[in-house]
Amino acid sequence: MLRLLFEKTGNAVWISHLDLMRLFQRAFKRANLPLKHTQGYNPRPSVSIALPLSVGVESTCELLDFDLDGECVDCDEICARLNQCLVSGVKVLRVYDAGMKIRDLAYLRCKIELKYDSGIPDSAECAITALFNTPSLVVSKTTKNGIKEIDLIPMIRSICTIREEKNQIIIEAVICCQNPTLNPAQIVQAICKKLPEFCPDFSKCSRIEIYNKNGEVFR
């Protein structure tokens, strides 16, 4: 099993998870790096992306696992060849010939930009900080099996709010990304639900880094 670290930025953030898998499959083909295929009636190239990324979210820490058919190719060469065959915004940062077990992936550092077109409302920053510094913050979440009540606080390891420029607040948080998973968008939803007067006009999330249970960078 080989693993690559890639980033998804710019307009590439609008490519969906499934489309991104196809995009990589084609890039491997263009780069003349034949992927191993699954066995069975309809053989499929085996690539898997560790944590599916929501459409619109930028990331600099995506992992994709794959297996190559045929002769062994040096990791740096795989990286260089793939980057010539990808689209703008999707870039392979490094290729590894081994990695940690995906099930040990635990935390995600994310950044959330909250934009207020007519300036940050008074005391928004304090109110948001306070909102996430309570013992429990229960919000409802729509799942396949109906509406579920969930508590966000146990899934937030650390969170800080920074006032940036006069129109933007930035939240940086380390949150659970596997069993259970907290989607950064839920943090924005919680703000809009609990503090409607501080609901931003526009928000944007990005992934910065991923960690294992011990807080070590996950690769």
Binding site: G10, W14, I15, K29, R30, P34, P43, G56, C85, V87
Partner: protein, 611 residues
């Protein structure tokens, strides 16, 4: 604009189709660009990016020095709503610049029911709909594609049409525009000059008059405009431009695969088929050239599927040579090779077996009519025996799924012909019972009927369309006679096909109807969820035009037809004689069994027609 778009994108479905940035997209340095072309496809990205013609022309135009051609697609309804509320004008994908900033706006039109999208896109771009309201050289609108063979319903909106294959005429037109812009010509001067290019039709240079009964009385060419416009063709396909570096969409599209066009034209002469006549003469492409282009395309795109396309791929002379070479390559590279529209002959059967080793595909027949008599009328040379033999072979090989396509309302059709469909289906079920190697999985027979639409430049161009009520009666008759559990019957709703028939043989009076329909909200008519028949009927009523004039009335053989000015190569005399043969239930052999003198070979000088 970019900031606005970034805020809208999270609110719409499949945002990646609006951002561009795909593999092989062409961008240019604006300081080196003299002519900017917004190449519009009047439907959504998923449909437009599947269009092969657009890919050829995108490549051809961008090969030109000083020209930058960008793509534009119709937004889906959710995006359109966002654009209108946020005051965001239609943009081109590559530069993300507004379409109204472009010099030329090109449309490729392959389907009558996307006419409203053309108007809606101009509207979204903030460009005046009427050609005469657009002054000067900015925003010249031109169009091509099969629908341009009767462009009259769009005559008020489009400055000029390019007829036939565009690879040569598009650069000629752009070079002229380049010069016109540099020398600051007036629009009138440019339009007159462009009308002298072969294959270019400038509708504003013609005046139409009508008789009291509503029929066309005359078409007057003004200012020395040509009285006949002959479509353009590429004579030698081997040396013609072929885009091996095609854009690979980052999102899934309808035909998500590489596409190799193996030849142009058709030898068959099915009398209802517009492409079969209007795309003549037959021009071959050699297997060697195709093989090289196929490999290059596959290596460059990384696609896992390639399809060999044409109007009738079984009729490609070197199909065996080409597939013999491609199959091993595709198998080694795990690429699926698909060969659509194979006929039910022996070689095709063999080929199907070979292709099956790559991946299993469906079994589809288009007999079009239920009885041999009617198939002779329409000159569809497919016999019941051929269908049943092919089915027997396929069932024995493990297939258990058949799709059958028919038309209802073909000239001379009787109830007996309609019931013939049920009978054929019954025989297929019997064949399955006798030959199936695996009966456990059961049989599925999908039957679909379409409502016949008479098209210009075919032997049936004068025919009446049956009424929607009669069509529905025939579908019911058929349904009540196909009761086997394994049969699934679907029929096209008549509303859309009726409008298609109106537009296909329409004249300039329909421009007002189109404009009115769009004003009332018609667009994306090809999509069930957006098509509103009521809107159209209201528009017809408002304009005082009866759709029946274009459908159930039929056109007289001595009548001046709106598309008479356009010469697709096949002569009107030939179409008339084919019509006569149809009524006499006489078939015409395919071109390979003797030239029947359609006239299209006159378009070729140096090389013979390769029928």
């Amino acid at each position: 604009m970019k900031e606005k778009l970034q805020r809208i994108l999270p609110m719409v479905q499949k945002p990646a189709r609006y951002t561009g940035g795909e593999y092989n997209e062409i961008t240019k340095d604006l300081s080196q660009v003299r002519v900017r072309v917004a190449f519009c496809f009047p439907d959504t990205y998923v449909i437009g990016m599947s269009n092969v013609g657009m890919r050829f022309l995108y490549g051809v135009m961008n090969e030109m020095d000083g020209v930058w051609c960008e793509r534009v697609f119709a937004p889906w309804a959710d995006m359109e709503e966002q654009m209108r509320t946020n005051d965001l004008p239609l943009w081109a994908l590559e530069s993300q610049n507004p379409v109204r900033d472009f010099d030329m706006i090109a449309f490729t039109i392959g389907y009558e029911m996307c006419y409203t999208n053309i108007l809606n896109m101009l509207n979204l771009a903030g460009i005046p709909l009427h050609a005469k309201s657009r002054k000067g050289l900015k925003n010249i609108v031109f169009a091509g594609g099969v629908c341009a063979f009767n462009p009259e319903p769009l005559a008020s909106f489009v400055d000029f049409f390019c007829l036939g294959e565009g690879e040569e005429v598009a650069p000629e037109v752009l070079r002229l525009y380049d010069r016109a812009k540099a020398e600051d010509w007036s629009k009138d001067v440019f339009l007159k000059a462009v009308s002298t290019i072969d294959g270019v039709y400038v509708p504003s240079l013609y005046e139409h008059t009508y008789n009291e009964d509503g029929t066309l009385a005359g078409v007057k060419a003004l200012a020395g405009a040509p009285t006949k416009i002959t479509k353009r063709i590429i004579k030698d396909l081997d040396s013609a431009y072929y885009p091996t570096k095609m854009i690979v969409p980052s999102t899934e599209i309808v035909h998500d695969r590489a596409n190799l066009e193996v030849f142009r034209g058709c030898i068959r002469g099915c009398r209802f088929c517009q492409a079969g006549f209007s795309c003549r003469p037959v021009r071959k492409k050699s297997a060697d050239v195709l093989y090289k282009q196929a490999i290059e395309t596959m290596q460059d795109s990384g696609h896992n599927e390639i399809t060999l396309s044409s109007l009738s791929t079984s009729d490609y002379r070197e199909l065996k040579e080409l597939t013999d070479e491609l199959i091993p390559y595709c198998a080694a590279q795990k690429i699926n090779l698909s060969v659509p529209s194979l006929r039910a002959d022996n070689f095709s059967q063999e080929l199907t077996q070979k292709l099956q080793s790559l991946r299993k595909s469906g079994l589809t027949f288009a007999p079009e009519a239920g009885t041999q008599r009617l198939r002779d009328v329409i000159n569809k040379n497919l016999t019941e025996e051929e269908i049943l033999t092919a089915c027997a072979n396929a069932f024995a090989g493990g297939w258990n799924n058949v799709k059958l396509y028919f038309m209802l309302g073909l000239p001379t059709e009787t109830d007996e012909d309609v019931l013939g469909i049920a009978e054929l289906v019954h025989k297929i079920i019997e064949t399955w019972k006798n030959t199936a190697s695996n009966k456990k999985r059961g049989l599925r027979v999908h039957v679909a009927t379409a409502y016949f639409v008479p098209k210009p430049h075919t032997p049936f161009q004068w025919e009446k369309q049956i009424t929607p009520e009669e069509y529905i009666r025939r579908t019911k008759l058929l349904k009540s006679n196909m009761y086997a559990k394994s049969v699934e019957y679907n029929y096209h709703e008549p509303d859309l096909s009726r409008l298609e028939a109106v537009m296909a043989r329409g004249d300039r009076r329909l421009c007002a109807v189109l404009e009115e329909a769009v004003r009332r909200g018609a667009r994306l008519d090809g999509w069930d969820e957006h098509f509103s028949y009521r809107t159209w009927l209201d528009a017809f009523e408002f304009c005082g035009i009866n759709p029946d004039y274009y459908t159930v009335r039929g056109f007289g053989e001595s009548e001046i037809l709106p598309w008479d000015i356009i010469d697709v190569g096949v002569t009107k005399d030939f179409l008339r004689s084919e019509r006569k043969r149809a009524y006499a239930e006489q078939t015409t052999p395919d071109c390979r069994h003797g030239c029947s003198g359609c006239g299209a070979n006159q378009l070729l000088r140096e090389v013979p027609c390769d029928a």
